[in-house]
């Protein structure tokens, strides 16, 4: 029974923030390069896929109640395999933390602060997230409420600022690049959703429970994904309809281009800084939650109790600085990484582990009954 308890709505906002950030920052560009104006369809399909896999995760969560995955995964899958699974999950969360950090860093470094060395962003970002993760899941949950609010505000103000240039015809024709290609591309967008799906497994045991709440995990997960879609989906649609898919494909950070094309009247003619401020809270919340879970998962495998939580978390985040900087230092390589390596590496873990756990639970139940 974990001592931390977070509210149900806060859990929803955490899930919503977990799908936010990178999905509209980088993924839209990656998808535009593959499927052009169908990128928003791919993203929508990704959300739907995520919602389907959520059925499996909520099944697992329901089976174990408030037992954390750190306890039940080794029990369910056996000690060695369980440890491996946990470790993989930890690496997945760490990777997702790094990519979410890079989202903010490149936004800043490409558009607002071009002269500042990237390493400064990397280090400071990690330190800030470390501070948040150190304060724990409850604080991260509170931040994510604020993050969801600012995310929705951002989407709303972007919509207001760009409706003049919204051209519905550019969203058409549907499935111009073929259904198969769109579905394949949705796998790339799945990387963002899948992290939230996997994290829900770790998150829900901490959610404050009331009797009437039992078995409503699926509703909570879908609500979280729904809020996430609400604050994310406006972006791909508007990127296509306002900028055009060809322009979206041209840029590494397409959403910033959309932000730069927004005009909140002729007085706020530039929007990047507002966008950055509203955008970052959600991504910070995401990073904090991911670093927290990454640490918890890895710490459950690599026994480092003697260090104390703060110290081991510091060590982990300091170690993460190296891959972090390595990825961010070459933008072309990073873009390639997002298009090819990251989906191949992360999807099997993020979707595979929950599905495997659900299968194990089913097998156990059947065996128990027989």
């Amino acid at each position: 029974m974990p001592s931390i308890q977070i509210g149900r709505f806060q859990a929803v906002t955490i899930l919503a923030n977990l799908v936010y950030g990178k999905s509209l920052g980088f993924t839209a560009g990656v998808l535009a390069r593959r499927v052009g104006n169908d990128l928003w369809l791919s993203m929508l399909i990704a959300f739907a896929t995520g919602a389907l896999v959520m059925i499996a995760t909520s099944y697992v969560v329901r089976a174990f109640g408030s037992t954390t995955p750190f306890e039940y995964i080794p029990r369910l899958a056996g000690r060695a395999l369980g440890k491996l699974l946990l470790f993989l999950m930890g690496l997945l969360f760490l990777g997702a933390f790094i990519t979410s950090g890079i989202t903010v860093e490149l936004h800043l470094n490409d558009f607002l602060m071009t002269e500042t060395p990237l390493v400064i962003f990397v280090v400071l970002y990690t330190l800030l997230v470390l501070y948040g993760a150190f304060l724990g899941l409850e604080v991260a949950a509170r931040l994510s409420v604020w993050g969801l609010f600012t995310g929705l505000m951002l989407a709303l103000s972007m919509v207001i600022g760009t409706t003049d240039h919204f051209w519905f015809d550019r969203l058409l024709p549907l499935f111009d690049h073929g259904v198969r290609e769109v579905l394949l591309a949705s796998l790339i967008a799945d990387t963002d959703v899948a992290v939230a799906v996997a994290a829900s497994l770790f998150l829900f045991p901490y959610v404050h429970k009331k009797t009437e709440n039992q078995g409503k995990w699926l509703g909570l997960s879908w609500l979280g994904l729904g809020f996430g879609a609400l604050q994310s989906m406006a972006w791909p649609i508007f990127e296509v309809a306002v900028l055009g898919p060809e322009v979206t494909a041209q840029y590494l950070i397409a959403c910033m281009q959309l932000g730069r094309a927004a005009e909140l009247s002729i007085y706020v003619h530039r929007y990047e800084m507002v966008m950055m401020i509203l955008f970052s809270f959600g991504v910070f919340a995401k990073s904090i939650v991911l670093l927290y879970f990454a640490h918890e998962s890895i710490a459950a495998v690599v026994k480092v109790e003697r260090l104390g939580r703060g110290a081991s978390m510091t060590v982990l985040s300091l170690l993460s600085l190296f891959p972090h900087y390595w990825l961010v230092s070459d933008r072309q390589f990073y873009s390639l990484f997002l298009e090819t390596w990251w989906p191949t590496l992360s999807l099997p873990i993020a979707f595979g582990v929950p599905l495997a756990l659900a299968a194990l639970v089913v097998v156990r139940r059947l065996m128990g009954r027989a």
Partner: protein
Amino acid sequence: MSRPWPQIGLLLLLPLLIGGCWDAREINQLALVMAVGVDQAEDSNRFLVTAQIARPAVAGAGGGGDGGGGQEEPVFTASADGDTLFEAIRNLARFTSRRIMWAHNMVIVIGESVAREDITPVIDFFTRNQELRLRTWIVVARGTDARSIVTTKTGMENIPGASIAALLRYAELPGESVRADVARALWSFLASDVNVILPAIRLSPHLAPAGNQEGEKASALQAELKGVAIFNGTRLVGFVDEDAARGLLWIRGELRNSVITLSCPGHPARNMAVEIRSPSVDVTSEIRGQRPTFRIRVDTEGWLNEQDCVTEDIDVMQLQEMTEERFAEGIEEDIRSALDSVQRNLGTDVFLYGFRIHRQHPQWWRTNKDHWNDMFPEVATEVSVQARIPRMGIYVRPMNLTAP
């Protein structure tokens, strides 16, 4: 108990950064570019970039004009050349005392010679750079170089760049040119089914007030929004004007407001002015035996705002009927003239025909998109116009000398 170490750690980090301030640039040490012109330098392949830089001390001083620089110009204009645009701009720094900042640039003027050659460098440079905003206006200098457009003082604004931007912002009112910003230009440039069109600006003699300061003002030139520059791929191929420009906007469905001149009933030499209100255009395509045909359906209202002749023999219903008929004819003529000048003479698809057929018949487009440019001049267009005149200013009967 509580541990303050993270907080203290964050605070301790601060002094380490004091040596930073990498991006800090005082606003008064920047050269804020208000307008930029790109030309081809004479007798060479080099670019000549002309930047119009605001002098904040004068331009920003508001009412206090006598605070030091009463006679000074509010802008400082500098030109420099280079093999690439980037080099030319870096060369500007040789004699501008401040760091050039593009963020407030309002308008990019492309010289006609550059546009006829290739606009790729302009589009590339100004959209690759993170300082320029995507809503910067972009125009083509018509019959002149960009440099003279940028340096010409126009209208009532203090800063010439601002006046060109204002011309473009209100380009909807005359309805004879387009509004184009960098985002739109970039998309048209990149998209395979669309061609670029840009507004054109030329210099025309300023009509000075009679007898007032003749020597100076009568000869002064002023920037004037005049026509649409039509591109084929990366090159400028021509301009369309007035009626054809309005027709082009009709076909693209981008007309918002304009004035059309019709002949007076019974007095062919006299005119009536109808203001086009709430126009709507529906363009549909049809594939007839591998050949696409387009149908343009216009449905619009107009307000009769001026009638320059006395019409004693008709009542108001007749007048309305006759005007509506002429109005519809006028619109169709405009569209026809655009079809003539663009489709026959220039042969480049700036009607968004390719864009529409791509969406309406994706299968056909997939097989035929490579031949589209050859096919386009042959494409047939049907025009049907529904025009109503529900309002004649605040009059309710024709301009008659006696009651009917």
